[in-house]
Assembly symmetry: C2
Homo-oligomer: 191 residues x 2
């Protein structure tokens, strides 16, 4: 992969370890600006209505046509909980009530952190919006387990049913290691 160009002056950047640091960074060969790269947060929610769960069928790649929970990249200037509510609206025209933190999932291979909330779907209303082909409310026996988009969706739904059965309010935290074609490894942390 090319190292690219400096956002400050447009000169070429080179990868090296800056003085006092211990990691390779993209450093400008002209103005010495250091371009730090950090993980991105994906914020989303599991919304419940009369014991059913809201899922969205993805209208974009990756995993076009597979089912997911409303979630997407957190934006600058918003909080995690506001971002989760925004994604529910953008993907499923859904409004959220009683949102609370549900889980923090680390996906270190792709440098993402999923911050998931749990709440109620206002009025049970949802409809496909941009990026979504179809929305649905599913009972536990109806969840399309083999057609879920990502391991983090499977893990969130699995822990949701566990929490519901145990009337538990713990917040989950786990590392999810997956790559296409390989078994998923999940390291669950105590909470």
């Amino acid at each position: 992969m090319s190292s690219g160009f400096c956002t400050q002056c447009g000169s070429a950047v080179k990868e090296h370890i800056p003085e006092g640091d211990n990691r390779l960074r993209k450093v400008c060969s002209s103005c010495d600006f250091i371009h730090y790269e950090n993980p991105k947060n994906v914020v989303g929610c599991l919304l419940e209505w009369q014991g059913k769960v809201l899922l969205c069928k993805r209208g974009i790649e990756p995993r076009h046509g597979y089912w997911t929970l409303p979630a997407g990249f957190m934006e600058n200037g918003e909080s995690t909980i506001d971002g989760a509510a925004r994604e529910a609206y953008e993907e499923a025209t859904a409004e959220c009530e009683e949102l609370r933190l549900f889980a923090v999932y680390n996906l270190p291979r792709i440098s993402q952190v999923y911050i998931m909330f749990f709440g109620q779907l206002k009025d049970g209303f949802a409809k496909a919006n941009e990026e979504t082909l179809e929305v649905g409310l599913f009972n536990q026996s109806e969840i399309p387990w083999s057609e879920l988009a990502f391991p983090v969706v499977t893990e969130t739904l699995t822990r949701y049913y566990e929490m519901r059965d145990q009337r538990d309010r713990r917040v989950y935290c786990a590392d999810i290691h997956s790559r296409p074609g390989a078994p998923v490894e999940i390291i669950r942390h105590p909470s």
Copy 2:
């Protein structure tokens, strides 16, 4: 602020709303590459040893000379919990045991999310490391409340003593709105 240059081709970028989007982004005027900017995570921990809490006196700006919990920017390729342990070592030569998720704090004004863990300080050992002038283990009555570096540190310590008194294991979630010279506003979310 100047919009800057494209990381892909070095041409000037301009701010506009890309088709299908609803926010201003930095878009390359030559190759059309979109430069998304997202919040950064700060990962850290509150470490306890024999009822005392580990604090570090900051050796760098901002808030040089003020006391803080070990915390810093999460790196690509690591999980939040591993990042928190790394920061404890980098700032206080401290090893962590029994880490568990403690709180998610949103700081939307500066587009940061603090993800804080709670655990035990191994062997009660800590010593100042890079970026730190001094480390200390403090009883509750000794906490230097007026010399804490950031509102998020004050909030984490306050909730820790609340949790300890109530023998609670809930995970906290709040938005912290602060700017120098103005009162701190904290919106605590249910958990």
